[in-house]
Symmetry: C2
Subunit: 306 residues, 2 copies
């Protein structure tokens, strides 16, 4: 793989940024990668583990002279960061981001992008429940999708170059408009996360089922929910507030459907339940066939933990 | 590990029974294991892959002379099977089961247990989304909990022997009464499964988000839900119908909580969301510390599928 950018700046050094650094290094995609994190502790950690070629004490310092600037901060912080770095952006540079919501990020960031600088929003569909500068690894994006969400007037060359970077980091790349992106993600990610958070909160609340029992006996099902519900609170708060309409629409459909199943349980309508559960099995098969998950039973966890 | 039973009969040859067979063989816990499945195809598969020392064409034949009979059929079928085998049960034998609901199984099975035969219900908290005779593996129960739910008058020696069997198959064993079991499982397993089924069904229904997109872009979150929602439809229909009261109670609490979070999204109450999500993170940490899951990011899936 050959070099795609001379200098890349990563603003925010969490799971995604740190994985991007290791993935870029693995494939030699950038000559120098600078990094900035708001917290001094994160900057110190980054320096200690060799995350970024140069860790800077301000976002402006990290951005100066960069050909690509990637905003890797929570969605709610994107606008302020864009405003802060705007005046030092190099003419001809590209600004991108990795936010899970696109319409809100575009609304917050685009007004700060100077003429002659390209803005190409992006969203890598990859993650784990861990966060922080030490959570990244080079393989995070391998065979995962990265969605580019060009805005009106995005420069085709700038888009092509960013696409090459993500492909170089192992991703498959697609393009999509912002509103459609936000609806698809509300279904596949945002609503499921809120539901998982809710269920884990309910379990925690129930006084008759002691915490230790819930933890001790958390078989498949709840265990998966707790993994999802362990994700970064700041990131997810911002996601829900920024993708309010689509999330609330999906949650409305969800409760409607849940009430129908609750009613089937209450009235003993086994056929309704059986048909519903049979239908949901097919979509799982599709996900495995599409290469987006492993068919190993229980993710091979039974064996891994033995 | 030394032999615990001379002859064990497994009625039903799905994921749990087939895993029990391989786990018993691994540790030499039984001299002979017979098996029976209602479907001829499952019996043929079992014979082909060497599942059970002897595969029988009737449940009664499998049960004759057995020291331990384990009912591994869906919860809704337990009563009929117990009635069918009752008259051939060997005096002094133990009947057990592996059902996910205990009060309903006890109600259905206990009336058929003859005098002089012991009844010790059990529930191994282990599973994967796969089913059928080929889905089992010896390590399924390793370091997982198995809950014994003795009924009034269960013989202490019969309980101790069954405990030794489960420990020999790799499980940790606890005892619990039936009603408490059913409530704990409603929280940790039954309600989460229904919720996952619902969310996957909603995604499938939405015409604006095409199926292929939902599948293609199913990032963490939805992917985990689809795994849960791929579980055996018959088994889960029976679970919900048999554990109706506890499941409906938990679902009621769940919707209450979900509505509060939806309201926080609608009104833009970020603090409520942040505090809630911070609280749920702690319970995940507890599960990892309790050894019930791996701390590997995303179950190591990012690497496994690359």
């Amino acid at each position: 793989m050959s070099q795609i950018y001379d200098r890349v700046a990563l603003i925010g050094l969490g799971l995604i940024a740190s994985s991007m650094f290791w993935a870029m290094k693995r494939a030699g995609l950038a000559r120098e990668v600078t990094g900035y994190a708001r917290s001094e502790k994160s900057r110190e950690t980054a320096r200690r583990i060799g995350l970024c070629d140069r860790v800077c004490d301000t976002a402006r310092e990290a951005v100066e002279g960069a050909d690509l600037v990637v905003l890797c901060v929570p969605v709610g912080a994107m606008g302020a960061v864009a405003e802060e770095i705007a005046s030092v952006l190099k003419p001809g540079a590209t600004v991108s981001d990795v936010g899970s919501v696109k319409r809100g990020v575009i609304r917050a960031v685009q007004p700060h992008i100077p003429d002659g600088v390209h803005f190409v929003p992006a969203h890598p569909l990859a993650g784990t429940e861990h966060s922080g500068p030490e959570s990244g690894f080079a393989e995070l994006f391998d065979n995962r999708w990265c969605l580019l969400v060009p805005v009106e007037g995005s420069d085709p060359d700038a888009i092509a170059r960013l696409r090459a970077l993500w492909e170089g980091m192992g991703s498959n790349v697609d393009e999509m408009d912002a509103d459609h992106h936000d609806l698809v993600l509300a279904v596949t990610s945002h609503a499921p996360h809120l539901i998982a958070y809710t269920m884990v909160g309910v379990a925690d609340d129930l006084r008759r089922v002691t915490d230790s029992e819930v933890i001790k006996y958390s078989a498949a099902g709840f265990r998966d929910f707790t993994r999802i519900a362990a994700s970064d609170p700041t990131m997810w708060r911002d996601v829900f507030l920024s993708n309010k309409d689509a999330t609330l629409e999906i949650l409305g459909r969800f409760t409607e459907e849940l009430f129908a199943l609750q009613r089937a349980i209450r009235t003993g309508d086994g056929d309704h339940l059986f048909d519903y559960f049979t239908r949901t099995r097919a979509i799982r098969r599709g996900i495995i066939d599409a290469g987006q998950d492993t068919d190993a039973p229980d993710f091979g966890r039974g064996k891994a933990s033995s």
